[in-house]
């Protein structure tokens, strides 16, 4: 049995003025969005000037925060308590719009229009796997620059997209950069500039093959797109690298969010390893939706056995007709209790495995709530549990 992990002190993290960015990452379906929103609200009500950048919140949660409109602009969350001197804004990421804005800021109006209308751009900006991740980081960089200039926020909480893999968003800036430096782009840009005849010969082969597979029209569109967007490439690359550096900054804190399930914890482990490889500052692990050990010192086995005895008990000797039903309720409760005990044992084992492999990672375990969170009170409750 491994030792218990260090406890993650969430309030200390939120109160630390040296921390300007909190990034919540993890695989899909582990409660990342709720965790981000709860952390942001708690920080604001403890006096920080906070903006939370969410990706895809549940409709009712978004409504309660006043961000049902996806307009890429932070909006004040009116229900947040400002007594401590802080405040909370929230925004939902519009991936395509963010991309459009970057293009518009990097290219002349004419060039920008040419790019925005190209079918490859339209598809790239709305469906490229990784665009959302990259744009989340881009938006983070923007908000951070604006906040430093205007003093609007001293803490930015970022929710990351529900990626195929939790690593996608870390890779996105690098992937975009390497795409822009890629051989294929160079090929498309300079079809006539082959350094050697061999390359030119290969080039004819490639163009021929592409035409055969894609058709000439597609190839022409692609060439136009690559040529047009080339002017903004330098800007993109610089920004991607700046954002990456921002993430490595000691003022950034990563929280890896997981659920006590094998897949989610495995993803969390990958993520922790990857963050340390990339020298990104990890604050700790949040394990959501954990089963809580029920009160009482009955073992699961004893509870199952007692439930069985109640069920098999003859009904004789009862004066009231309802008694057997009552015993059925108690028997049912005992089985729930026993299931819960089993679940706690299983989750403890799973978390123990994680801790054994990553002993240095501070952890907070958040119990499962019986109902969904869709208002600020619910977020406060989650915030309270996070800070236990």
């Amino acid at each position: 049995m491994s030792a218990a992990p260090r406890h993650l002190d969430v309030d200390a993290l939120l109160d630390d003025r040296g921390v300007g960015i909190v990034v919540c990452c993890g695989s899909g379906g582990v409660g990342k969005t709720t965790t981000s929103a709860a952390l942001a609200l708690r920080a604001a009500e403890r006096g920080r000037k906070v903006v939370v950048l969410t990706i895809d919140p549940a409709r009712r949660l978004a409504q309660s925060m006043g961000i049902e409109a996806l307009d890429n602009t932070p909006r004040p969350v009116s229900g947040a308590d400002r007594a401590a001197g802080g405040h909370l804004d929230a925004m939902m990421l519009d991936m395509k719009r963010t991309f459009d804005e970057v293009v518009e800021s990097q290219a002349s109006p004419d060039k920008a229009r040419q790019i925005l209308e190209n079918p490859f751009y339209v598809a790239l900006s709305s469906s490229f796997a990784g665009t959302q991740e990259y744009m989340a980081m881009e938006k983070l960089g923007q908000i951070r620059r604006d906040a430093e200039r205007d003093g609007t926020y001293d803490l930015i909480v970022v929710d990351t997209p529900p990626s195929r893999s939790a690593l996608d968003f870390l890779d996105a800036p690098e992937r975009l950069s390497s795409f822009l430096d890629g051989r294929f782009i160079k090929l498309m840009l300079a079809p006539a500039r082959g350094p050697a005849r061999l390359v030119t010969a290969g080039l004819g082969l490639v163009t021929g093959a592409l035409t055969k597979v894609l058709g000439a029209q597609v190839l022409r569109d692609l060439q136009t797109f690559v040529t047009a967007i080339d002017t903004v490439f330098g800007g993109f690359r610089q920004r991607a690298m700046a954002t990456y550096a921002l993430l490595q900054d000691s003022r950034t804190a990563f929280l890896v969010v997981a659920a006590p399930e094998p897949d989610a914890l495995r993803e969390a482990a990958y993520f922790v390893d990857r963050l340390s490889e990339d020298r990104m500052p990890l604050a700790g692990l949040v394990v959501n939706r954990a089963a809580e050990r029920p009160d009482g010192d009955l073992s699961a086995e004893a509870a199952y056995a007692a439930a069985e005895r109640l069920r098999e008990r003859p009904e004789s000797g009862t004066d009231e007709g309802t008694e057997s039903t009552d015993a059925a309720v108690t028997a049912g409760l005992l089985r729930l209790y026993a299931d819960q005990e089993r679940l706690v044992e299983r989750e403890t084992r799973l978390r123990g495995r994680f801790t054994a492999a990553h002993p240095g990672v501070s952890t907070v375990v958040v119990p499962a709530l019986p109902s969904d969170v869709h208002d600020l009170d619910g977020l406060r409750r989650v915030g309270g549990l996070l800070a236990r």
Binding site: G28, V30, A58, S165, K212, P294, A328, P370, S371, H374
Partner: protein
């Protein structure tokens, strides 16, 4: 019990993250593989989830025999093969199979075209992945000696992406209005839209997953993709109703515990009552979500939350449950 999906050859399994769609896809594949039927289980998201579930080495881009299916009583089992579809390998295979590109195919790779097409070029990645799945169902005559499967189960991308993923023609629409890749996509769509395909959605009884399932069904229908069943996964035990759970009171529980010979340790009675009240709250929420699922008016199947789960035996257990409910 006969299957609700007798004519379906391609079972697409989607679901919100965290609902256990991969587990359901694997269980469905085991359930379909009986009476000597051969089933292929495909994954397309590069996660090697199949290998982990079945506790085998990471899968290559190659159909591998994975497991024996779940036999019916007195019957014989079929086989389950697995395929991890990798877009780069799929592209090279596609070029070789359809265009006999040979040297040019390698040149494409050398010039970074393959990398470009599979990681960046919008839509192309999805077309390659779905294209391979299509080939596994229809089997190209050029793919000599390939196994002809009775059914293919696809562990697909999550609900939020499924329409984009399957609606390949549309994804290419802005890019390739004509040309060979376009007609490939159109042929694929004919299969995906036919009654030989069913898109099943996995959910749990929580608000967001159910909402996504509802939205997903509407989006699938809007583009004429055939909606299959809804699998409600990770269902908690339901021997008591919400009212019964909420009715739990300390005196009765204490009396019953004494009857059952359980010593009343401190906190036990209160703990049990609280367990009941929290379960009641959860049950009320789940019942609300279950009514929403029922209102979707598609076949639904329920799978329990297994407290010990996670291993191969659990997959067979779930497969048996899917079969008794008529999904396979």
């Amino acid at each position: 019990m006969t299957s609700d999906w007798p004519g379906v050859q391609l079972h697409v399994v989607t679901g919100k993250g965290g609902t256990g769609k991969s587990t359901v896809a694997a269980s469905l594949a085991l359930a379909l593989a009986d009476e000597g039927r051969d089933v292929l289980l495909c994954e397309v998201e590069g996660r090697q989830g199949i290998a982990r579930m079945f506790d085998v080495d990471p899968l290559p881009y190659e159909e591998r025999r994975l497991a024996t299916g779940l036999a019916r009583e007195g019957g014989r089992a079929g086989t389950v093969h697995a395929l991890h579809v990798d877009p780069e390998a799929a592209l090279l295979e596609y070029l070789a199979m359809y265009y006999r590109l040979g040297r040019a195919g390698r040149a494409l790779d050398r010039f970074g075209v393959v990398e470009f097409a599979t990681t960046i070029a919008p839509g192309v990645r999805d077309v390659l992945l779905t294209g391979k799945v299509y080939e596994a169902v229809e089997r190209n005559s050029r793919n000599k000696g390939a196994i002809r499967y009775d059914a293919v189960v696809l562990d697909a991308p999550p609900t939020g992406r499924i329409v984009q993923f399957l609606n390949v023609s549309n994804e290419l629409a802005g890019l390739a209005k004509v040309g060979p890749i376009r007609s490939q996509a159109d042929t694929m769509m004919t299969l995906f839209r036919s009654p030989r395909t069913a898109v099943h959605l996995v959910t749990v009884l929580e608000e967001m997953p159910v909402q996504e399932t509802t939205d997903g069904i509407a989006e699938l229908r809007a583009v004429d993709l055939p909606v299959g069943g809804v699998v409600v996964n990770l269902v908690r035990p339901q021997e008591l109703g919400a009212d019964q759970l909420a009715s739990a009171d300390a005196d009765t529980v204490a009396r019953d515990l004494t009857t059952a010979g359980v010593g009343l340790s401190p906190g036990l009675v209160e703990g049990l009552v609280r367990t009941g009240h929290e379960a009641a709250e959860r049950r009320a929420l789940e019942d609300r979500q279950r009514r929403l699922v029922a209102a979707l008016d598609v076949p639904t199947y329920e799978l329990p939350r297994l407290t010990q789960g996670g291993d191969l035996a659990a997959l067979y257990e779930l497969a048996a449950l899917l079969r008794t409910q008529g999904m396979a």
